[in-house]
């Protein structure tokens, strides 16, 4: 009985000591971020959703070979006449008139993506055509939607496959923490 009372009092005293630790924290500023209204901006090296720039891509297929889960696929465009090889600003892509290979289409299956960054490291273009953006808020409701496709002229987020009819349409309701994803 005496031992029992000793134990209970000791436990009570130790609980008070533990409460003192929590009491000290009570007056510190909260570390919780109220997520949907406040958003943390990840560090520049963060590996978020893959963004793709069809204009910069030279369709070399290095990313396809580097990917460990084979989630990337692309098709090279047929050689096109010089006039069509102009960027949106009207400047020729290569002034010497050299033929720069371009892509026909480019797909990433996010359902397979490991977010490992090997594709980005493999990308040989000066300004990476494929890179991990800071976007961490991609939401998919079906597996079909996880496939994104880019064609020349598409924006960085490409088009997603609609689960209803399997056709690709612009990504409408994706929220981005920044309008322009960081290019590394």
């Amino acid at each position: 009985m005496k031992n029992y009372i000793l134990f209970v009092s000791e436990a009570f005293w130790n609980t008070l000591k533990g409460l003192w630790v929590t009491l000290k924290v009570l007056f510190l500023p909260a570390i919780t971020v109220q997520y949907p209204t406040e958003k943390l901006v990840p560090y520049p090296r963060f590996r978020g959703m893959l963004a793709y720039d069809a204009e910069a891509c030279i369709a070399c297929g290095m990313c396809v070979r580097a990917c460990p889960s084979k989630c990337i696929a692309l098709a090279k465009a047929m050689p096109v006449p010089q006039q069509e090889l102009c960027s949106s600003s009207g400047q020729p892509v290569s002034p010497e008139g050299k033929r720069v290979p371009k892509i026909e289409w480019y797909t990433i299956d996010y359902g397979r993506c490991n977010f490992c960054g090997l594709c980005e490291e493999a990308c040989p273009t000066k300004t990476k055509a494929l890179w991990h953006s800071l976007d961490f808020e991609a939401v998919f409701s079906t597996r079909e939607e996880m496939t994104r496709r880019w064609k020349r002229g598409d924006d960085l987020w490409g088009t997603a496959r609609r689960s209803a009819d399997g056709q690709f349409s612009a990504v409408a309701d994706q929220i981005h923490i920044q309008d322009v994803p960081v290019r590394k």
Binding site: V64, C71, I72, A75, I108
Partner: protein, 203 residues
């Protein structure tokens, strides 16, 4: 006591024991006949205070084969969107050389192309002296069996079950030799090089 001294002492009673040609980098490797694995380990434990069994694993030396064990859809998900040329899927199989293309002039214990054996690899160590020894033991691929180390090292219990599960090597004397990682309904032994994945309801 160094590994060489132990080896010379053990060789007196186990004539089949020899230094392995193929070294496991940084660790001495011996080849042991399958039937004396248990006796050698028993001696190592009782006499040379080898008290820790690191690894039991196996290698199938039947040579690289086209990895048909993988679901065929690998890398073809994206191609469903539009007919994708095969050359751009870069299947891993294209990177794997045919056994006949193995470089020549390798040691005899290494695979000269395909060899019809399994190799069991045991890593035992004496924690007090820090000696770690790799025991290698070759067994035929047909009805592969080896004595179990259950009872000498309890660590052998699950590791042998794992080897049995993935390679189909039978460990004689193991009291509870059944599949451990794959389901009981699994057909075949997945880590064998000739394993082919049979489509089931999970595919």
């Amino acid at each position: 006591m160094t590994a060489e001294e132990i080896l010379t002492e053990l060789q007196a009673s186990f004539p089949g024991l020899a230094k392995s040609d193929a070294q496991v980098k940084d660790y001495p490797a011996w080849t042991v006949p399958a039937q004396s694995v248990r006796a050698v380990c028993e001696r190592l434990r009782s006499k040379f205070s080898f008290d820790y069994l690191d690894v039991i694993t196996a290698v199938d030396w039947s040579g690289q084969v086209n990895p048909k064990g993988y679901p065929q859809s690998l890398g073809q998900q994206g191609s469903e969107a539009a007919g994708q040329p095969d050359s751009q899927t870069a299947q891993p199989s294209s990177l794997i050389p045919h056994p006949s293309s193995f470089p020549q002039g390798r040691p005899a214990a290494q695979p000269a192309g395909a060899r019809d054996i399994f190799e069991l690899v045991y890593l035992v160590s004496a924690l007090s002296t820090g000696v770690k020894i790799c025991l290698r033991c070759e067994i035929p691929r047909k009805e592969p069996a080896a004595p179990s180390l259950y009872g000498i090292f309890m660590a052998a219990d699950w590791q042998e079950r794992e080897v049995y599960d993935l390679f189909g090597i039978h460990f004689e004397g193991h009291p509870n030799l059944k599949r451990i990682l794959t389901p009981e309904t699994q057909a075949g032994y997945p880590l064998r090089k000739d394993y082919e994945h049979v489509s089931d309801r999970y595919d």
